[in-house]
């Protein structure tokens, strides 16, 4: 167990390092920031002074160290567009993204897992067919397009929910469904195949032979054991839900980090984009790591492998 976790932790560290290096290199590849900050009449002396102030005159590894130290202090620099610290811009929006991500996650579990169980129990039945169609659409439809279609039908044509924004309580419904659908598909498929495997196992057959009622077999004997694959996936899920919110937030004008990242992309606001990428990566890696711990706790095979 410890070896497993240490190994996962090392990967977390290396991932964070890799992302930080990419961000650092790309910030430098964008050109010398001094040419943006100074006008054409700046003297050589001003140029050098600014370089010293920004730390650009130092060797690269020192610049990288400065960059990392700043990040640890929560200093991501100034937003070019909004002219205020990036950390403030980000902290205003984190909550919206977490809210949407968690809602979509819960939604995908609540719909996907039971549907997966039911479609495995009644193979080939109506529910199974419905589940297959739902999963197929979730896997194949571009979520941004799905979101646009939802807005067109449920907000513009039918007027059931607001088309965008986050003002009313029901504005979360459409983005939640859009974002969650992909993961309904994943949960459903994983749950269904895991259930089919378990229902075919010897101990379920024994329980059947003993005359245990079907309901107990399904929910007590099979369901609990079949939960492991979807659970493992849930961690990766939670992470990609958070980052997958980029297009969804954009489509629904949901004021979260995803929308912020896209706006930063369009206005070439590198410091903001860099901050969002760091925060997103942290969330992503942290949630995957937490699930690894949970997973090792639940499934003894991982612990002793």
């Amino acid at each position: 167990m410890q070896r497993f976790l240490v190994r996962r932790f090392i990967i977390v560290i290396i991932t964070l390092f890799a992302v930080s290096v990419i961000i650092f290199i790309m910030a430098r590849a964008g050109g010398d920031p001094r040419s943006m900050l100074l006008d054409d009449y700046a003297t050589e002396e001003q140029w050098d002074d600014l370089g010293k102030a920004l730390g650009i005159d130092r060797p690269y590894y020192q610049q990288y160290a400065i960059f990392i130290a700043d990040v640890f202090r929560g200093d991501f620099g100034q937003s070019i567009k909004e002219r205020r610290p990036v950390i403030n811009v980000i902290s205003e929006r984190v909550w919206a993204t977490l809210q949407l991500g968690l809602a979509a996650f819960v939604f995908s579990v609540v719909i996907g897992i039971p549907l997966g169980v039911l479609s495995s129990v009644r193979r080939g039945g109506m529910l199974d067919m419905t589940g297959k169609v739902v999963a197929l659409i979730g896997q194949s439809a571009p979520s941004f397009w799905l979101g646009i279609m939802f807005i067109f039908w449920f907000a513009v044509k039918l007027g059931w929910v607001p088309p965008s924004g986050r003002q009313e309580w029901n504005s979360i419904i459409l983005p939640m469904v859009t974002l969650g659908w992909v993961f309904i598909a994943a949960n459903l498929r994983l749950m269904r195949s895991a259930m089919l495997d378990v229902l075919d196992s010897e101990y379920v057959k024994l329980a059947r032979a003993k005359g245990v009622p079907n309901r107990v077999i399904i929910w007590k004997h099979a369901f609990r054991n079949a939960l492991i694959p979807p659970l493992t996936f849930a961690g990766v899920n939670l992470g990609s839900l958070i980052t997958g919110s980029l297009t969804t937030e954009l489509v629904f004008a949901w004021p979260g980090l995803g929308q912020l990242a896209v706006q930063a992309l369009w206005s070439f606001d590198y410091p903001v984009l860099q901050g969002v990428v760091i925060v997103f990566t942290l969330m992503y890696v942290a949630s995957a790591f937490l699930v690894d711990i949970l997973y090792a706790y639940i499934d003894p095979r991982v612990r002793y492998a």
Binding site: A18, A29, P142, F144, M149, L246, Y270, L273
Partner: protein
């Protein structure tokens, strides 16, 4: 009449009919519609310059937002007035104009006036906000998606296969390093990295291809490595080694062919994912640079015009949906057929 015993049993030549039957039986339960649709997409992509009726990048502003085959000319009743008031054009028409259509038109009368010309038959699927033909753009979009998928699959696939073979064959430290690299790669939020690259280096096809290739190689590597680990223990591989075959020869001649079934399945399913990710990036404005008609950016074009021209966003989105759906159905079928073991891994 008895055949000489030559030690070789010859199968009697099969009648043609039975052979055809066997091929057909192999195709049993094949997803006909998805295969057919994929055929259309591939055909459209390859022959785009010859079959598209219009230039996909140049439009006629006079033909903006025209609907396609689903509607004819649209008319609506308008009041005939002396002079149309500013901003009232949608319910008033000037006497002069009305007289051209209906010579006997009088002031205060209501007449049916053409409000939107039908795009059909000039534009089968209508036009976008710049008057560009949507059918041609969708056809060229297929070409772009196919090219992107082929290139990234080529680059990512070759890297993934090579590293997977090496990791599986050499094992130990090499395996450890490559597999940890795979783990790291899979835990990178690559769409965000793509955005960072686009902001600092500018929008280009190379970046998208690179990001997508980085996206898919670990999946290939993982799969191939798994296959190699089992193939490695087979007798024919041990014999090849005893016979003095070089590692390179064993990897490519003896191990690689054994992974092909799995590879075909993985590749089919990955193409769908590549098309989806590319569409998302293009939708965000970080993908294929305009004015090239990528499906994702076409959806983005139509996003704010749904109320008056729903087809601009709907059609390219449908193209992505149907293509990826067909790939998934086809891939699932291939998987059941070629490699039933894989079913458990999804």
């Amino acid at each position: 009449m008895a055949r000489e015993a030559t030690g070789v049993l010859e199968a009697p030549p099969q009648p043609m009919g039975r052979r055809v039957l066997r091929v057909l039986r192999g195709m049993r339960r094949a997803p006909i519609l998805p295969i057919f649709f994929l055929g259309i997409v591939v055909f459209a992509g390859i022959t785009a310059p010859w079959i598209s009726p219009h230039d996909p990048t140049r439009g006629n502003l006079a033909d903006r937002n025209l609907p396609g085959f689903w509607t004819g000319d649209r008319t609506s009743p308008k009041l005939v007035v002396e002079e149309v008031e500013f901003g009232e054009g949608f319910r008033q028409v000037s006497l002069e104009e009305a007289r051209e259509l209906y010579p006997g038109a009088e002031l205060g009368q209501e007449v049916e006036v053409l409000t939107r010309r039908a795009g059909f038959p000039t534009y089968v699927l209508g036009t976008d906000h710049l008057g560009r033909d949507l059918l041609s753009r969708t056809i060229y979009g297929a070409r772009i998606s196919l090219i992107m998928a082929a290139v990234t699959l080529g680059v990512g696939g070759v890297i993934g296969i090579a590293l997977g073979l090496i990791a599986g064959w050499y094992g130990r430290l090499v395996d450890e390093i490559i597999m940890r690299l795979v783990d790291i790669e899979l835990s990178l939020p690559l769409i965000l990295v793509a955005l960072v690259l686009v902001v600092s280096l500018g929008q280009s096809l190379t970046i998208i291809v690179a990001v997508l290739a980085i996206w898919i190689w670990p999946r290939f590597a993982r799969m191939v490595r798994g296959e190699v680990l089992t193939l490695k223990t087979t007798d024919y591989v041990s014999l090849a080694r005893v016979a003095g075959a070089s590692p390179l020869r064993i990897m490519f001649v003896h191990l690689f062919p054994g992974t092909i079934n799995t590879l075909i399945v993985v590749a089919t399913l990955q193409v769908g994912i590549v098309i989806l990710v590319e569409a998302s990036l293009s939708f965000l404005g970080a993908g294929v640079p305009p004015p090239d008609p990528a499906w994702g950016s076409m959806v983005a074009d139509g996003r704010d015009r749904l109320a008056d021209a729903w087809w601009i966003a709907t059609i390219p989105g449908l193209a992505v949906l149907l293509t990826v759906m067909s790939l998934n159905l086809f891939g699932d079928w291939l998987r059941d057929k070629l490699d039933p073991r894989l079913r458990q891994m999804e």
